[in-house]
């Protein structure tokens, strides 16, 4: 027994028009200051104006939103009493919006208490709309929430199926202004969701097709979107890819690249998509022997061929090479050293990296779970850019 949850998804050019028909009184827009500056918040507000819905903007969400920021947002919600919460932005504002919504509805809970084993009883005060402005996180359709515990320098995964959005508006026009590096980082996040959603222990028939579709779209359209941000077809297909991947992994699970990426990102403050994208090929090389058919299917779906032989494991390993080639094509690093992290800083953090990754929620569903020592080796190989051979 398992579940598949999804918001109503409005997608394609002009999807933001769906807000014109929204019924309600007051909307709290949870976002960041940059999106206010770029005018994207004003766009959303103008649609809500057409619907006759008052708006209040909470634009204090930082990258990797902290528990403290969420608490401030909850105070704003309690004062404003919205009947809609709108999460607008990348993963950080959307995740913050989910947490603010839950705690607005359930003031008795702490952020860390939002867990999948309880009944929340949401939608008594408000409903949630998510509007992604990047193409990668998938947070518009997932129920997971990633918050940062700033005291412990640790990312904290919380969430409950109930806190999936009521509506996700996936409008590619909002992504046209993304710079190439952000396009690349977020696109690799989508790719990692798709690969891990397809190969993790919790994948299902319901999620497999979404992951395959997303992988094909990323390989075809990410280089175009990075090369020419005004290529609206590439933007639209990448936006769809991110949402498909979000549905795929959000109803299955992420895996080892996320576990390693979470910890590296939390300690060295590297964008999430860049870290998981770096680790993805190394984790494929490590895990391919445990699920060669699954990885080979992905490789074949994007036309990756092996020079080393036609066996499933060889084809699976070719996927790692194809992903590294894709990273190079979009000017994305393929090793931790290429991130500019000095070896001394990396080695002094290595114990915490291994410890946190070993115990990360995403590690539980790896199709080949590493031992403690293997995980340390994986970090070292990823630092040096050495393909994994163990």
């Amino acid at each position: 027994m398992w579940y598949f949850v999804s918001p109503e998804i409005v997608f394609g050019e002009g999807a933001l028009d769906a807000l014109d028909e929204l019924e309600g009184h007051r909307a709290l827009i949870v976002t960041d200051a940059m999106l206010v500056e770029l005018g994207l918040v004003a766009q959303v507000k103008s649609h809500l104006d057409k619907a006759g819905i008052e708006t209040h903007i909470f634009d204090a969400v930082e990258p990797d939103p902290s528990v403290q920021t969420v608490r401030r947002g909850v105070e704003v919600a309690r004062e404003y009493e919205p009947d809609w919460i709108v999460g607008l932005g990348g993963g950080s504002p959307m995740d913050a919006a989910k947490a603010i919504w839950v705690l607005y509805e359930r003031p008795d809970l702490d952020p860390a208490e939002i867990n999948p084993f309880i009944t929340l009883g949401l939608r008594q005060k408000a409903r949630l709309i998510t509007i992604p402005t990047t193409s990668g996180t998938g947070a518009e359709v997932t129920w997971g929430i990633v918050l940062t515990d700033t005291e412990e320098q640790r990312k904290m995964g919380v969430g409950n199926r109930e806190n999936v959005a009521d509506m996700a508006i996936v409008d590619p026009c909002l992504t046209v202004g993304m710079p190439p590096a952000l396009t690349a980082d977020t696109g690799l996040d989508a790719l990692t969701h798709a690969v891990e959603g397809y190969t993790c222990a919790w994948h299902t028939d319901m999620t497999d097709g979404l992951c395959i579709s997303a992988i094909r779209l990323v390989f075809e359209f990410l280089p175009r979107a990075v090369a020419d941000g005004s290529d609206i077809e590439a933007r639209e297909r990448m936006h769809n890819a991110a949402t498909c991947a979000g549905l795929g992994f959000g109803n299955a699970m992420a895996s080892m690249a996320h576990a390693m990426g979470h910890t590296l990102g939390a300690i060295f403050h590297i964008p999430h998509g860049r870290t998981v994208g770096i680790f993805l090929p190394y984790t494929i090389e490590f895990a391919a022997c445990a699920a060669p058919d699954r990885y080979a299917e992905l490789a074949e779906s994007v036309g990756c061929h092996s020079d080393a032989g036609e066996g499933k494991t060889e084809v699976a390993l070719a996927l790692a090479k194809c992903i590294r080639d894709l990273c190079r094509e979009i000017n994305s690093p393929t090793s931790i050293a290429e991130l500019g992290i000095y070896r001394t800083a990396f080695e002094s953090a290595l114990d915490k990296l291994v410890d946190d990754a070993f115990n990360d929620t995403s590690m539980v569903t790896a199709c080949r779970g590493p031992s403690y020592d293997e995980l340390r080796q994986l970090f070292l190989y990823a630092y040096e850019g050495r393909p994994v051979d163990f």
């Binding site: 027994m1 398992w2 867990n115 084993f117 115990n359 990360d360 929620t361 590690m363 539980v364 403690y372």
Partner: protein
Amino acid sequence: MALKFPSDEWIKALSSQLNASEAYEKSAKDWEGDFIFIVEPDDAYANTDYLYLGLYHGKSPDAAMIDSEDAREAEFVLRAPYTNWRKVIEGEMDPIQGMMTRKLKVQGNMMKIMRYPKAAKEIVSCCALVPTDFGN
């Protein structure tokens, strides 16, 4: 020789497996909190049984079959029908998914459990190492 589940011998064997597991030790090195597992009757099993598993800092100092839920103090109680326990032990049901779908019901501090998913997985891995007799 296979050990009957549930039984005092079985839970003690699980405790021994945990004490020999480096992966469990690493994933639960800060864990403090004992469990009582309650095996509830269903079509395949007629009794209610109680298994106590002491867990402290990556080791299992104590384990025993007990007479009732109140016979020992424990921070966590995990209850499920016999058939669901069997599925977990045989690897057919992921324990985290089992808790999320309410097939396994947990009482205790969920925030704490959420921080140690790897430890939960390692306990199940150790269950699989105990030769188990399900009576059929």
